[in-house]
């Protein structure tokens, strides 16, 4: 194998990337709308489960320090089977990255640029992601670091602005748990657990490059809890300002909620702030998935991923448009097929199958190296 470029990101950068990754898509499409006014409870439950899931991912990575998801798969399943499973993961990552991109394109074309062809938006967005990844993971991490203060303050401020506009009605949150816990749990698994929390499986490609790997588990779990908290905050804002019935009907809930803002008749029409948050979240999310897919290709094809960045990203820009004929198809795929046939196998089943194999193989290797050492 060719000598690898060693790139490192700091723990703080990892946390930043995870955070924006989590809130990105959620800010576009909203989560848990099926559970009506209890959506925030559902998000809370999913956050706790999601934190457990992330802890499990990092636990797997700890067994083989310094190796990413694909190297781990080859280690567990052998060369050929490992390559096939790795390729499936590559497909999964690239497909989801195209889907995320499409989410954003839908938002832009239906709210802001009604006449602009969707291709232009898709290509410019994926072009930014490709350029950033071409410059490397470190640049990616630093970009996140630069923008995170704005993202964070904007989200908090939007909530406060809605509160002071008088659009915030706590009674919209009632009745709490009217139908009991049943519908919530049904919604949490599989949908809320896999999106947005289970998607963190992609970070199994990034976490090995963190400089203080030993602390990665703590930081990741903590970040998931923080971002879960912010998602709950956003969901409460959506429910309280729009009401559960309307939230169900809006395509982009947080944006609609932001449109209600009218502070002192002076601060108005701030929905573009939400578009900024969404845009940065989407860039992060697309890039993380793209990076996952590229690293996989690098491992399988044995060429540095930088050669592949531009061709693959252009393919993604194209797939994002071809993926579905209209918005309804796009959403329906996301609700009915993706969680069942893509998220659950790749996020939960394969990692769980891999766990015992990995532990057993690591032990075997250790025993062998111990034996070699004593000989």
């Amino acid at each position: 194998m060719s000598k690898k470029l060693v790139e490192n990101i700091s723990l703080w950068q990892l946390a930043v990337l995870m955070f924006t990754f989590e809130i990105g898509s959620v800010a576009v499409v909203g989560v848990g709308t099926d559970t009506k006014q209890d959506a925030w409870i559902a998000v809370g439950v999913a956050t706790v489960l999601g934190a457990g899931l992330v802890w499990f991912y990092v636990y797997l990575l700890k067994q083989l320090p310094g190796r990413n998801l694909f190297e781990m798969i080859t280690f567990c399943f052998g060369k050929w089977l490992g390559k096939i499973i790795g390729l499936l993961y590559v497909y999964y990552f690239l497909y989801i990255s195209a889907r995320v991109l499409r989410d954003f394109c839908e938002l832009i074309t239906s709210v802001i640029f009604e006449n602009t062809p969707i291709e232009v938006i898709s290509i410019t967005m994926v072009g930014i992601c490709a350029y950033m990844l071409y410059l490397g993971l470190e640049v990616f991490g630093r970009t996140g670091e630069v923008f995170i203060p704005y993202v964070f303050t904007f989200i908090i401020l939007i909530g406060l602005a809605i509160l002071f506009s008088g659009e915030f009605q706590m009674k919209n949150l009632l009745p709490i748990l009217g139908d009991g816990l049943g519908p919530i749990l049904k919604h949490v698994f599989p949908r809320l657990l896999t999106f947005p929390f289970g998607e963190l499986v992609t970070f199994m490609v990034i976490i090995p490059y963190v400089s203080h790997f030993a602390k990665a588990a703590k930081v990741s779990v903590f970040t998931v809890l923080i971002s879960g908290f912010i998602i709950i905050y956003g969901t409460v804002i959506e429910i309280a300002s729009l009401g559960a019935r309307q939230m169900e009907r809006t395509v982009f809930p947080l944006l609609s909620a932001a449109r209600e803002i009218s502070l002192l008749e002076f601060i108005e029409r701030v929905d573009l702030v939400i578009v900024f948050v969404v845009m940065f979240g989407i860039i992060t999310k697309v890039s993380v998935f793209l990076f996952g897919g590229l690293k996989g290709l690098e491992h399988i094809m044995n060429i540095p991923y930088r050669y592949l960045v531009f061709p693959v990203s252009m393919i993604i820009g194209y797939i994002a448009i071809q993926i579905s004929a209209n918005n309804a198809e796009h959403i329906e795929e996301g609700i009915r097929f993706i969680p069942l046939y893509m998220h659950i196998p790749f996020q939960i089943i394969i990692p769980i199958l891999m766990a015992p194999l990995l532990i057993w193989k690591v032990k075997k290797q250790k025993r062998r190296s111990d034996a070699n050492g004593s000989r």
């Binding site: 640029f113 009604e114 602009t116 009217g178 139908d179 019935r245």
Partner: protein
């Protein structure tokens, strides 16, 4: 190096040409009011009023009409508004619409949901315009009555509503999303404000009418329109509108209350209280099989005028006046609720939603036929007014007058 730079610049010019959707400022016309009437040949007749920007120039304002209007017929709102350019030179921008006037005939016969959907769906419309039902005159008349102070008619209506809410309260504070929410809600029926024209609409259209001290025509708020689902079924008066607001959220109001319950019928004496802080709480529950609507109102108030022979420096008088006000307001609100129960039989107050929040299991069973349940429900209004102060005087000079003079 130079070649590279040149290439980069060329590439940038492809990507950064700006957006397809750019419209120059002098190519747009800002719509402030829309009026929907029943069409003669087609389904609707839409009138839009858009601002004449030359009127707003600071240096040399033109002496023309502040707004211009355009009317077209068609079957759906988006189509008509896109077609408006057959007569309008500029692209119409709807994001600053201030008022939507709906002719009562449209609201009564076709219902309003058909065009509300297009308003909600469009990214252009914000949720900040007023929905107004027009009585008597055609809706298009309302889009063109000039106002000497605000000039643009729709701006005038919106400002007037805003001021009224602060001073007396006569608008249900309903926006597009609230209205739509109430249409689909099982435990609440929608309401909207109504407007009438006072005067001669023909004269009011003339820009020169702005020169007159007494405006020849004026748009006036006229109470509430009550809807069942999306169809207009009746009206409530302005006083009832305020009573409706007591049940929802009343910012402040001024109310005159007779001094004695059964005082002199020919020359009744009043005292005025201004409500500064109001809190109302809705409770809906079942006593056996009988639905109970309970409304608890707590308000802070101060006295603004006093015609009665009462000494405001004593604590007992305060208590007495508080009790008078409690009773009066209780009767007013109860009457309005009973009127709605008997005349319309739809729950415009949202008692059903309160039931849904408070007793979810029961609500699931009855919300399907909630309007019938609402009509037969018992009403119980509890009002508690707390009089805090009495302006800059305590005793009224009236109480200092020799008693005899007053009685004469």
């Amino acid at each position: 190096m130079k070649k590279r730079l040149l290439f980069l610049l060329c590439a940038a010019s492809v990507i950064l040409t700006g957006c397809w959707d750019s419209i120059e400022l002098n190519d747009i016309a800002i719509v402030t009011g829309m009026a929907i009437d029943p069409g003669k040949e087609k389904k609707y007749r839409l009138t839009v009023g858009y601002v004449n920007p030359a009127q707003y120039s600071k240096q040399n304002p033109a002496h023309g009409a502040p707004v211009s209007i355009m009317t077209l017929e068609g079957n759906s709102l988006p189509e008509i508004s896109a077609k408006m350019n057959v007569g309008v030179s500029r692209r119409l921008i709807f994001s600053h619409t201030r008022a939507l006037y709906i002719n009562e005939k449209v609201a009564k016969e076709d219902g309003v949901s058909h065009f509300l959907d297009s308003l909600e769906r469009s990214p252009q419309f914000r949720n900040d315009f007023n929905i107004l039902i027009t009585k008597n005159n055609s809706a298009s008349d309302f889009a063109m009555i000039n106002d000497p102070v605000e000039r643009v008619p729709s701006l005038k209506v919106q400002k007037s509503i805003k001021s009224l809410l602060k001073s007396w309260g006569g608008d249900p504070r309903v926006r597009l999303t609230d209205f739509i929410d109430a249409i689909i809600a099982e435990g609440r029926s929608p309401v909207a404000s109504t407007v009438v024209i006072d005067g001669d609409p023909e004269k009011g259209q003339n820009a020169e009418s702005n020169m007159e001290v007494k405006a020849p025509a004026r748009i006036m708020l006229d109470g509430l329109a009550v809807f069942k689902k999306d169809k207009l079924i009746g009206y409530l008066s302005l006083d009832d509108t305020r009573n409706y607001l007591w049940t929802q959220k009343l910012e402040s109001t001024m109310i005159s209350i007779p001094c004695e319950e059964d005082g002199d019928k020919n020359n009744p004496l009043y005292f005025d209280i201004v409500i500064t802080n109001n809190k109302s709480e809705m409770k809906t529950y079942y006593k056996g099989n009988q639905p109970q609507l309970e409304l608890n109102i707590f308000s802070e108030a101060s006295i603004n005028s006093m015609q009665c022979q009462k000494d405001l420096s004593s604590k007992e008088i305060y208590t007495e006046l508080e009790k008078r006000s409690d009773k009066q307001i209780k009767n007013m609100i109860t009457e309005t609720i009973k009127k709605v129960q008997n005349d319309f039989g739809v729950d415009i107050f949202g008692f059903g939603e309160a039931l849904n929040r408070q007793h979810y299991k029961k609500a699931k069973k009855v919300l399907g036929h909630w309007n019938e349940e609402f009509s037969r429900a018992d009403v119980d209004v509890n009002v508690k007014i707390a009089l805090r102060r009495s302006g800059t005087r305590n005793k009224s000079f009236i109480s200092e007058l020799p008693k005899k003079d007053v009685e004469d």
